[in-house]
Subunit: 147 residues, 4 copies
């Protein structure tokens, strides 16, 4: 059973549409793999284009995935008409981002009318084995249209 | 006068070479604009490919620039033979990343044998006017080859 | 000249009164040393009661000073009637907090209607020499009374 | 079954002794409630001395508890002879720290030879009900004696 009750019946369609309007996600090859109220998995295939000097995926790219996972997870719990922005995030890089595929898994820790706090974890997958490579804590903000 | 004395006479060549070995920097269109001991400016032109749903540059891409600026700034102060990795960073997003060109400016706050702490600021430039769009604090680690 | 224009003419009295209503500040021996719009210095004498296992001031106590400096700096720019709370902060500990006296210096980086971002630095003073011992970035939120 | 294998057979005695050598913990009324390899609960009774302007426990005091929980959790996995210091932490404050008793629960996410990453949560207890009031991610460093 999901831990959270969405305020927007169309949360799935709205969150998916917002995700898909981001050219950066398409360029980075990141897509939605799982979407529940307050929970999101994004997936990304390895691409040599986005690596740093040792052939690992760049921390900024890992952060883009984690931040988007947080944003979409938070967005599923926001009311109709809300837009979302990231206030801040903090990433710890735990292991080299080396793998065939990456998963960015975010959970809402505390939803709020204005601010929502999320945690996310990035896993690298190689031969079906997952390694935790990074963690994020992020603060997201709901922007409501002014009347 | 620079605030720091580099331990590696070839700091400029070594830092530049490390930067240039990162495919992610080429893909994102980020280059070194200024390089002093413990201080780096990176520059990036706006690219619609790396935007989020409102046409602003994605926070992950801004973070990639900030993180790299921190990494290169820290790296200029490391001894010959060191490799570098990012331990963690924290980014606050202050304004929409909207502009023709972006500058990522990093300064070493505290160099160390193992850990170096940096601060960085991202500016968006439009018609020659700079706007502060994000700030980062980051921790970088020197890896010395084992004998 | 101050960088910011306060929205509350009585900012000094209001910020000071809010600071003084905090028993924790009295218990820790922290007081306001300087107060300008968006800028605050707090001061604390060394006290053996608040040290960790090596005789340095505990990181949580340093954080209490940094967080309060950020909070008061942000509060000076908030409108009349606002209350303030800390959303989050991040502290890097740069050197042992060893000294006779400590100064917590905060500056508003970006004021906002809802969120204000501050940076703060903690200095330890011994024989008149200041050492930077910690830095903080913090996000503060204005709470306006509901009508 | 514990998730981690301690390197120091005496981890319990050594971690407890280090905790008890901290005057700040005694002053704040914080004690060890549970200690396993890589996992620690600290407990603190409410004290009006350490509150902010609304009667809630000050964020710096909550952070002192979270930081110590992280430190002790990390320390249980360090080799004999190590000393420990906090590199950095990030705290999100989720709810007012209002309660009769507080628990600071830390888990090692990634132990390492030099750096250990921990997560911690602060809970306020009232009438036996726990409320999550804050979360921390922290980086701890092992200091080995030079020979």
């Amino acid at each position: 059973m999901p831990r959270f009750e969405p305020k927007n019946r169309d949360y799935r369609a709205v969150a998916t549409a917002t995700f898909e309007r981001q050219p950066a996600m398409r360029t980075l090859g990141i897509s939605i793999a799982r979407l529940e109220p307050g929970e999101v998995d994004l997936a990304m295939a390895y691409s040599a284009q986005f690596t740093q000097q040792n052939g690992f995926v760049h921390a900024g790219v890992i952060t883009a995935g984690l931040d988007n996972a947080c944003g979409i997870a938070a967005f599923t719990l926001m009311p109709p008409g809300a837009d979302i922005l990231t206030v801040e995030f903090k990433t710890n890089l735990l292991a080299p981002a080396r793998g065939e595929r990456f998963v960015f898994r975010a959970d809402v820790v505390k939803p709020g009318r204005t601010l929502t706090i999320c945690e996310a974890r990035a896993f690298a997958e190689t031969d079906g084995v997952e390694t935790l490579v990074a963690i994020m804590t992020g603060t997201l903000m709901a922007l409501m249209p002014r009347n």
